[in-house]
Amino acid sequence: MSDPIIVCRCEDVTLQEVREWISRGYTSLEDLRRILRLGMGPCQGRTCIPIVQRELARMTGKSIDEIGSPTGRPPAVGVELGAFTSD
């Protein structure tokens, strides 16, 4: 196997996989997020989303503004459940 190009370190998603699903017709950021779990790992998409936005723009001819960004969901960084308890 050739050396992978890692797009998302949290879920171990490669650029090859991203390209494959885009060419199968899943051409929105939301589509790819749900298929590949991009941006759903502990880093909240900080690394992968900008790369995927650019790849989508390149492959679909859309502008990045059109492609957009995922909905912002709390928390911005993961927090231990124990931090929400009172003891």
Partner: protein, 381 residues
């Protein structure tokens, strides 16, 4: 089995009290620190939260002297600027006008202006500010290339943290990808730490950073290869080398294979806008400003009337402009909360804009100026 407790008793829950503050500033880098100072001088009560172990943001890693005029503390090293700003804050801490939370991250913005703050070694508590300035800075972009995740391939900012903040020699032989300011400066800092720098690669046909920063590293024998990039990293458990390719009209043409144990990626920054997204602040993609950035008015106020922005989270620029934006935002907040008059605020903000004007006057700033045209708006009402 005795049944002593009702489900409501077993699974009862409670919530921490909601703390209140006038102005919550998220981020203790140059923008946040200057915003805090300005707000304090204007009489506001300020809560400043910083996710790192110390205040100063990226400034604490900067050993080089800053550009600008004396108003921006030009000629002073970044970490010293941080020390100066922190020192200026100290008197306000005693007076109770300022609360600083270190190792504390603003993790969430919920409806009705509730912000959750998470403390590294403690608890999550809600705070309800009247106004909030988001100065969360930026994050580094990653570059897709084979083996780009091997240990030893770090963001240039990560290298600075390891080396200049914690005092760890990050490697023996380094390759830097990207000749923007951060790439150039990190290369220089690596030389200062005794690390050999093999080369700086730049995909464009000219360096992206300031010319003088490039000249500084070239003098020590570091080549800067224009129209070159990394085509892959080599290594099994950690990075052992890299293949450097020339970017030609027909694609990448592999040219060198070098040994290195450190690759610094500095291909640009993206504004950190998680909280702005959570708050549904209106944004726009502006390549010149590093990505999606919030629309803002001349006073750095966003589409959410209680949220202001400043610094790199409002669009990638320099620490000098970040500091001024912080001051503008706080001046606007002070006006909104009735601490200064409309006229005073206008005079102050005009002056600060004049300073932004001359900082952005150079030819290299033309992109920033263009980007600003796209996001500078006037909010109705």
């Amino acid at each position: 089995m005795t049944m002593s407790k009702s489900p409501a008793e077993i699974f009862g829950y409670s919530f921490p009290d909601i703390r209140e503050t006038q102005l919550l500033i998220v981020g203790g880098g140059p923008a946040g620190l200057s915003a805090a100072l300005q707000a304090l001088k204007l009489g506001l009560k300020v809560t400043l939260v910083e996710s790192g172990l110390e205040l100063g943001g990226q400034l604490v890693k900067q050993t080089h002297k800053f550009f600008g005029s004396s108003l921006e503390r030009a000629g002073t090293r970044g970490f010293r600027i941080a020390q100066e700003l922190i020192k200026e804050l100290t008197p306000f801490k005693g007076s109770g006008q300022l609360e600083v939370y270190l190792s504390t991250t603003a993790i969430a913005v919920y409806p009705e202006r509730i912000v959750l703050l998470s403390q590294l070694s403690g608890k999550v508590f809600p705070i309800k500010p009247k106004a909030m300035i988001i100065a969360t800075g930026a994050q580094e972009r990653m570059l897709p290339f084979p083996n780009n995740d091997l240990p030893g391939i770090y963001g240039a900012g990560g290298i600075q943290t390891l080396m200049n903040q914690y005092g760890v020699k990050p490697g023996k032989r380094a390759l830097i990808v990207g000749a923007g300011n951060i790439g150039l400066i990190v290369a220089y800092q690596l030389l200062q730490a005794g690390v050999e720098v093999i080369a700086i690669l730049e995909a464009m046909d000219r360096i992206g950073g300031w010319w003088v920063h490039a000249a500084k590293v070239r003098r020590y024998g570091v080549p800067i290869l224009l129209k070159h990039t990394i085509s892959r990293a080599i290594g099994k458990e950690k990075v052992e080398g890299a293949v450097i390719a020339e970017i030609t009209p027909d694609g990448l043409k592999d040219k060198y294979q070098v040994e290195c144990d450190l690759i610094g990626i500095s291909v640009g920054l993206t504004p950190t806008v998680d909280l702005l997204r959570q708050a549904n602040v209106k944004m726009k993609y502006v390549a010149f400003m590093g990505g999606f950035v919030p629309l803002r008015d001349r006073e750095m106020r966003t589409s959410q009337s209680w949220i202001w922005v400043a610094g790199d989270s409002a669009g990638i620029e320099e620490a000098s402009t970040a500091m001024i934006e912080g001051q503008i935002a706080s001046t606007s907040v002070a006006k909104w909360l009735g601490y200064i008059s409309e006229e005073e605020a206008k005079r102050e903000i005009d002056q600060l804009w004049a300073r932004l004007g001359y900082l952005r006057e150079a030819e290299v700033s033309s992109k920033v100026r263009k980007g600003l045209e796209e996001v500078l708006v006037t909010w109705g009402g």
